[in-house]
Amino acid sequence: MREELIIAGFGGQGIMFTGTLLSQAAMIEGKFVTYFPSYGAEVRGGTANCCVTIDDTTIGSPVIINPDSLLILNKPSLDRFKPRLKKGGLLVLNSTLIEDEVKETDAKVVRLPATDIAERSGQIRVANIVALGKYLAIRKIVNQESVLQALEALLTGKKKELLGLNRKALITGYEYK
């Protein structure tokens, strides 16, 4: 099964890291995966996005036109990418920063106060990982264990001290009802 996901939000919310993390997890499971970042004149506070495609077979284009799923962390990104979501696709929204009027007939909408949850768990910076956890709890394209392994592979050196925080955020997202 092919899963095409676009992750989008403010620059600084860890959009690229979230995409890389998911790609790393897919690779750990031996799946085919491509990751393509926006690399325009994005700055902190501007919008950033990336495309992640995961499949059991060879992937051609890494550029996603009509995604199966969207992981959206801010309002400008919702406005930009919602029209491209496949009909009935999955839309995971950061409801702390987004007030939306998306109809349930258009998409399977999951509203998650990711920024609030992250802040309560001690670090506003991990809202992206909370949201990724929730997304993976619904779309089980990779196992939680693989994502935890991927975190270990990516957070090395000085960043190793962030491992515990990210692990907790991921599991909190998975378990959020």
């Binding site: 890389t20 393509f36 690399y39």
Partner: protein, 347 residues
């Protein structure tokens, strides 16, 4: 557990060049190839090799010229506007028969253009680019894995024929990440380097130059170069062929070939069979296989991220035997699998 690594195209290319024994890298920053220069600035020093961030693209290509004269495996990289600046140096290298590697991570043009992926520098890459009658050997990777493996092939062909080689890629392949396997790279070098300038103590002096003013000398040199190019044409045409039996054959390289592959997968679901001819060298152009396919297929559709450049070489090879159609988008826009399938319906 897997031995694969998730790598960005630019970085895979850099690592591939290092594994291929690149001894000197010279570069000047430009998007979307910056991660390559950045990667080399760290890794070349770790490997105790030469890295210089030059003062300009012009300086970088001339540093490659100098390193090559002295016998080093040398490279430079840039994106479209920067590669334009290197054309004078490339012409001199071709004239002096110097090996070396130039990478072009193509972006939208003309002029300063934009920083999106593009394939608009095809003509420049395969038709000479600089002044004089010459060709570069031009390789076109289609994945992060091939970005890792192709520098070795580029260096080896470049040294075998003593002519500069280019890896022609684009902003999308260079920026994307996918798993790649760090396979062992063959670093064997042609031992016959009796032309390099490494000091003439104990042997007759040599000279390397492209200024040939004596009567008939330049024409003779050009004849020699053309003989060499003809040999490359007969020996080094490379390609990948998917679904050889298909009635409609797509022709695309690099990122367009990736989009074509997705179109083929979607067409398969509907029971339609499409083929793909993917050149791995665009100079020499894989004309022999095109001539064979022209007798079998109903039509060709050439797909490029430009207004129609490689399509001219396809038409030359097919020579009117089979209809050749074109679909492309210019200015840094990317074609979609859906657009390709729509074009197929029109055929």
């Amino acid at each position: 557990m897997t031995t694969k690594r998730l790598m960005k195209g630019n970085e895979a290319l850099g690592e591939g060049a290092i594994q291929a024994g690149c001894g000197a890298y010279f570069g000047y920053p430009i998007t979307p190839q910056n991660e390559l220069t950045e990667y080399m600035s760290r890794r070349m020093l770790e490997e105790n090799r030469v890295f210089i961030q030059s003062e300009s693209e012009l300086a970088a290509i001339n540093m490659v010229f100098g390193a090559s004269v002295a016998g080093a495996r040398a490279m430079t990289s840039s994106s479209s506007p920067g590669v334009s600046l290197k054309q004078e140096g490339l012409s001199y290298m071709a004239g002096c028969e110097l090996p070396g590697l130039v990478v072009n991570v193509q972006r939208g043009g003309p002029g300063l253009g934009n920083i999106s992926g593009s394939q608009a520098d095809y003509f420049q890459a395969v038709k000479g680019g600089g002044h004089g009658d010459y060709h570069l050997i031009v390789l076109t990777p289609g994945s992060v894995q091939e970005l890792y493996e192709m520098p070795a092939l580029a260096f080896s062909l470049s040294e075998k024929y003593r002519t500069p080689a280019m890896i022609l890629t684009d902003g999308i392949l260079a920026q994307m990440q996918e798993p790649m396997e760090a396979v062992k790279i063959d670093t064997t070098r042609d031992e016959n380097r009796d032309w390099i300038l490494d000091g003439c103590k104990g042997r007759a002096p040599r000279k390397i130059r492209s200024l040939l003013m004596e009567e008939g000398a330049l024409e003779a040199h050009n004849r020699h170069l053309q003989d060499k190019y003809n040999l490359i044409k007969t020996q080094e045409q490379r390609y990948q062929l998917i679904n050889e039996q298909a009635e409609i054959m797509l022709v695309a390289y690099g990122i367009s070939a990736r989009v074509c592959y997705t179109a083929i997968q979607e067409a398969n679901k509907k029971g339609a069979k499409l083929g793909l001819l993917r050149p791995l060298t665009v100079w020499p152009f894989p004309e022999k296989i095109l001539q064979e396919l022209a007798l079998k297929v109903k039509a060709f559709l050439v797909v490029e991220l430009n207004a129609g450049q490689m399509v001219e070489d396809v038409k030359l090879a097919v020579n009117g035997k089979t209809p050749v159609h074109f679909y492309g988008r210019a200015g840094g826009a990317c074609v979609t699998p859906g657009e390709i399938l729509k074009e197929i319906e029109k055929i």
